[in-house]
């Protein structure tokens, strides 16, 4: 009896383990193994094929000496900060407006969220067309008589990132609005009653009471948006291919792809992607510390 029970437990465990093989393989081989593999090979001088000939930090020195890479980082920082600030502020303001007991809430939400269902390629191509200087906004305003009007962000190296922002915000703000709206709906109605009894104006209640209470929602949103920004790739490919002027809108993910799969300079691609990992960790570790470190004590 005891023996069959022991055997039953053993076989029971075995089917769960067999079923979990894809998960275990993905976690260990692809995620952990793949990451370690790339980090290790970023210290080699691999060119066309990966080779284990270590050259210390050579690849990283070359990376940071390359103007294309430093421009990519500057672009990503600028785009990232602008995009974070605008999505969070606009998302929150829209969520507050949506939370005013309005009619047709579902219709408004459906309209604001549909771009999120579209790919960055579709988003980028539509906005490329709207921003087309000859036929788009610039052309229309000029044809109305204002002939010196200029609105051609995508063909000017100084403004190309704003062009990307217009499209990126269009695609992603609705999603942030939904997250924020869920956060607002999660706030206890009694809080509102209390502030009303105390005669605190609505706008002040939002700033002083509601926003601090939604700290967790804000942090989660920031982490999701930030980790998406670091991956930014498709939108740039569709809208500008990194141009104008060669690299005015380059981003790190593009550098990685080009060196790994086009220029056949694997070492550079590995070093660049390791830097991307590092930047994610800079975002992620404080968050994990706040989220999971705080939970243990609370």
């Amino acid at each position: 009896m005891a023996e069959t029970q022991a055997r039953a437990r053993w076989t029971r465990n075995i089917s769960a383990k067999i079923a979990a093989i894809p998960m275990i393989a993905t976690a260990l081989v692809v995620f952990l193994g793949g990451t370690i593999w790339t980090v290790v090979y970023s210290f080699t001088n691999s060119k066309l094929l990966p080779k284990l000939k270590f050259v210390g930090f050579d690849q990283y020195e070359r990376l940071w000496a390359a103007s294309r890479w430093t421009i990519s980082i500057e672009n990503l920082l600028f785009y990232g900060v602008m995009s974070l600030v605008f999505t969070v502020v606009m998302g929150f303001v829209l969520a507050v407006l949506m939370d005013q007991k309005i009619r047709y809430e579902d219709t408004f939400r459906t309209i604001m969220l549909y771009p999120f269902a579209l790919s960055f390629i579709v988003t980028g191509l539509v906005w490329q067309w709207i921003l087309n200087p000859q036929f788009g906004i610039e052309g229309i305003v000029r044809s109305l008589g204002w002939t010196s009007f200029t609105f051609d962000p995508l063909n000017n190296p100084d403004t190309v990132l704003y062009g990307l922002l217009i499209a990126g915000l269009w695609q992603g703000t609705g999603f942030v609005m939904c997250l924020m709206l869920a956060g607002l709906r999660g706030i206890d109605e009694d809080i509102w009653k209390a502030t009303r009894v105390d005669g605190i104006p609505t706008w002040k209640t939002y700033v002083v009471v509601i926003i601090p209470m939604m700290r967790a929602v804000f942090i989660t949103t920031l982490v999701i948006v930030a980790s998406g920004i670091i991956r930014l790739y498709d939108l740039v490919v569709a809208m500008t291919s990194g141009g104008p002027g060669g690299n005015a809108s380059q981003v790190p993910a593009m550098y990685v792809y080009d060196y790994m799969f086009q220029a056949q300079n694997l070492g550079q691609g590995f070093a660049a992607s390791t830097m991307m990992l590092l930047s994610v960790l800079i975002v992620l570790i404080p968050w994990a510390y706040l989220e999971f470190g705080g939970k243990k004590h609370g």
């Binding site: 993905t26 793949g34 991956r231 992607s273």
Partner: protein, 300 residues
Amino acid sequence: MADTSMTMSGPRGAKPRKVLSGRNIMLYGILIVVCVYYLLPLWVMVMTSLKGMPEVRLGNIFAPPVEVTFQPWVKAWKEACTGLNCDGLSRGFWNSVLITVPSVVISIIIASVNGYALINWRFKGSDIFFTILIFGSFIPYQIMLYPIVILLREMGIYGTLWGLIIVHTIFGMPILTLLFRNYFSSIPEELFKAARVDGAGFWGIYLRIMLPMSLPIFVVALILQVTGIWNDFLFGVVFTKPDLYPMTVQLNNIVNSVQGVKEYNVNMAATVLTGLVPLIVYFVSGKLFVRGIAAGAVKG
């Protein structure tokens, strides 16, 4: 936790006031302006795709077509060129279908079994693997691309549809496993225990109890995966060859090709066609879509 708290149930807040107050005019005014900004690209895209090229060149991109033509749609579907292939976007469409359907099915099966094992059949180390999986979802894909290329090449499926299907299954796993794990954790454990007493095994309980009880979450996962995989660009470029490029990649190649005269109406028709599948999924699924995307926002 299981309920993603994204149920946008009825409106709350202050007492209703007069309909035509200054506050309401402001409020709806702003919302309508915002909606115009959101709808404008869709409008422009569809209108441009219904015009002939002469009208596109002369007219205003925001104006509706004077003469409606479906020629650009036909051309985008059947004749648009990428490189030497001039058989239109239909090739990319069918590639995307062949990629999306198996990827969605396989990734959902694997992730739901994972979630089930993680809740009801924990074994030593199972939570560690899950933690790695979740952290992996934040790691930039770029860092894992080349190791996966090597793995697929060793397996002899690099550059094939099956290679890409495996990649989608791998990268869909963290979020889907989280989704199913959270959902299954809300199913009372007594049900599981009762089934165990009755002698049901791992697969028996999964198929007869867990599966029928969690159809909504399967629909959420389906929405998430169909839109996510259909919209993918990076994996399509890296892991397939030009003949097998998914629709997004082919679309980008058609529109951003430098050869020939730009046919903006055909380009926009192609763009609408590519966006059509996720848009249909979005409009049909409604609130479930919100739940699906919010799943990523819920911590495990």
